[in-house]
């Protein structure tokens, strides 16, 4: 007999199985263009479940066709130019056990990209107090798109990918970028204990954190000292209880589980609302879900 918890997980996995596009990917919503982000989450959520090998093969083939000449990945077949989603492909590659020239070029690309605020001019502007923000621009981090500033979410996903691939990649730059990326995340913590998109203060006004980016920041910070993360983990637990955002609850659940924190299992079956990314993340965060695939094995 199925338990409520089983139904919660199975209803989401069934939804994902039924919504894979014929090209092998998933859209953000059923019957929509395939995008790399929901394809990654759906693939991870289904990994290891019955029939998932063929599903993963088709998704992997599609995703690989989106690699650019410079090693990055396009966010969808309709969009030119590589973006932050390159980190997702590296994470998928580690789950798939692939480390080939294509993956190495992706890692090289990720290591070549920095937040645009880390320039001599911006650092000079910061030194002269000409910025409207209080960002520590000494750290590099990762942007959503090359040539833009670094933000928490792309930095967190890139940290997860780099930590997961670290054992295969040869080169000292990776370790440096991971350390510096973590420093960037830590430097942008909001005064209320969590993280927002990556801008904790504007014009001397503190900005509030967001629960979803707090979860993502904690994913990126896996492996840091427990004492360093005690405050943020407290905030994450509090946000998870308070948030009205299903997406935020999903990311916080995944992050807390990856940090080996006790998280209550879903109390009911829960409604699957037709949002593929959300369904995948909710499945991943289930106690029997694949949240450990976001784990970085204690790498710090």
């Amino acid at each position: 007999m199925s338990t409520v918890g089983d139904l919660y997980l199975e209803s989401r996995l069934d939804f994902l199985r039924k919504t894979q596009n014929t090209d092998g990917g998933w859209g953000y919503f059923p019957a929509k263009q395939s995008w790399l982000e929901p394809t990654t989450y759906a693939t991870l959520a289904l990994h290891g479940t019955p029939g998932s090998d063929a599903s993963f093969d088709r998704a992997w083939k599609l995703v690989r066709s989106w690699q650019t000449a410079e090693g990055s990945f396009r966010p969808s077949g309709q969009v030119q130019g590589g973006t932050w989603v390159t980190a997702h492909v590296v994470t998928l590659a580690t789950v798939r056990g692939v480390y080939d020239d294509s993956v190495r070029r992706s890692v090289d690309w990720m290591l070549s990209v920095v937040g645009a605020e880390h320039t001599v001019l911006m650092r000079a502007a910061s030194f002269l107090h000409l910025l409207k923000t209080k960002l520590d621009v000494s750290h590099e981090g990762w942007p959503w798109r090359e040539g833009n500033a670094a933000w928490i979410e792309p930095t967190a996903h890139t940290l997860v990918a780099l930590k997961k691939v670290a054992g295969s990649y040869k080169g000292g730059e990776l370790e440096h970028r991971v350390r510096d990326g973590e420093a960037l995340v830590l430097s942008r913590r909001c005064s209320d204990g969590g993280w927002n998109c990556g801008n904790p203060n504007v014009l001397n006004f503190d900005l509030p954190s967001y629960p979803e980016t707090t979860g993502l920041a904690l994913l990126g910070l896996q492996g840091r000292n427990a004492s360093e993360l005690a405050g943020p983990l407290d905030a994450a637990r509090r946000f998870r209880e308070e948030t009205k955002s299903s997406l935020a609850k999903a990311w916080l659940t995944i992050a807390l589980r990856c940090h080996r924190q006790n998280v209550r299992a879903p109390a009911g079956e829960g409604k699957v609302i037709g949002d593929i990314m959300l369904a995948a993340l909710e499945a991943l965060g289930h106690p029997d879900g694949n949240f450990p695939l976001f784990g970085t094995g204690g790498h710090a």
Binding site: V79, A125, N148, S245, A248
Partner: protein, 321 residues
């Protein structure tokens, strides 16, 4: 492009826009396009009034024809904080849906791509959109995660992507909130078009627009999307440290018109802000009218509804004297 190659390239742009350092003297204010623009100022002291009738009056005064058009309503949906006035009020959107059906639109959809929060549907739920607007889920599109297509000629980019829902609309109605803004001075119907840009391509926030330059990006959006109409929710606006952390400011008006530049200039004057000092309005003066002499004010007069919005220190120089 390698790290070494791009750092020098982004340096100047980043310093000029992201840091809001003004490297260029503001351009001379254009005389604007030929003819005048009609802008309606409609009294609406509370959200419980008959807003559809108020809006119909504004449409009649500004001469909009929506018959047979596929209409996209673009609210300003920003944050999970239903106790404040950050978002366009749900009753304004519900009224606009009914308005455009009455005006004979062939299709009325609502679309929004919030700049920071990714959980758009729950955000809409928290803002009471789902509870207030009939069949909300079936007519709403999360523009951040919609299918996209490229266009050319936007801000000198070889290609720029927009949601197919936006590109397929015959008329985009900016249902903006009357608010001060800590980067742009004021956020009104033009700045509200930032939410047309898909986060799935450009991120949260849509940092690409910051690097284009906020004023320029505002103008480019208005330049590209010309089939627009504005209904600015000034029933209760936001003053001070807007667009998120400010305080409620009742202005008791809806401001409506086809010329978004003229609508926003009128809103500024109602808020006690000099539109000729707002950079994006100066830059947009070839698209629409900023000069009061070229704006035919319908309905209420500006003087009868003007209520100065508090400005943070950085924007105190914008005050209309």
């Amino acid at each position: 492009m390698t790290r070494r190659q791009f750092i020098p390239l982004v340096g100047v742009a980043a310093t000029a826009s992201y840091a809001s350092i003004k490297l260029q003297k503001p351009p001379k204010l254009s005389d604007g396009p030929a003819g005048n623009s009609a802008v309606a100022i409609i009294r609406a002291r509370s959200y419980s009034e008959d807003l559809v009738s108020r809006m119909l009056e504004g449409v009649r005064q500004t001469g909009l024809d929506a018959r047979g058009k596929r209409v996209l309503l673009k609210p300003n949906l920003v944050e999970f904080d239903s106790s404040t006035v950050i978002n366009t009020d749900a009753s304004i959107i519900a009224a606009a849906v009914e308005l455009f059906h009455r005006l004979g639109a062939s299709d009325v959809r609502i679309g929004e791509g919030p700049g920071h929060r990714r959980d758009t549907l729950d955000l809409a739920d928290d803002a009471r959109y789902r509870a207030t607007i009939p069949k909300f889920e079936s007519i709403f599109t999360d523009l951040n995660r919609d299918d996209v297509s490229p266009i050319r000629g936007f801000a000198d980019e070889p290609e720029f992507y927009f949601p197919n829902t936006v590109l397929g609309a015959d008329l985009i109605v900016s249902l903006a909130k009357m608010k001060t803004h800590h980067w742009a001075g004021a956020t009104l119907s033009m700045k509200n078009l930032f939410g047309l840009v898909p986060g799935a391509v450009y991120g949260w926030p849509k940092n690409k627009l910051h690097y284009i330059g906020i004023p320029r990006a505002v103008v480019e959006l208005s330049r590209h999307f010309r089939n627009t109409f504005a209904i600015v929710d000034g029933v209760v606006g936001m003053e001070g440290n807007g667009p998120i952390q400010g305080t409620p400011k009742p202005a008791g008006v809806l401001v409506m018109g086809r010329d978004l530049v003229a609508v926003d200039s009128t809103c500024c004057r109602i808020m006690g802000i000099d539109p000729e000092k707002v950079e994006y309005l100066r830059m947009a003066a070839d698209l629409g009218h900023v000069h009061p002499g070229r704006i035919e004010q319908r309905g209420e007069t500006i003087a009868s509804v003007r209520t100065n919005f508090a400005l943070i220190e950085e924007f105190s120089g914008l005050r209309l004297v």
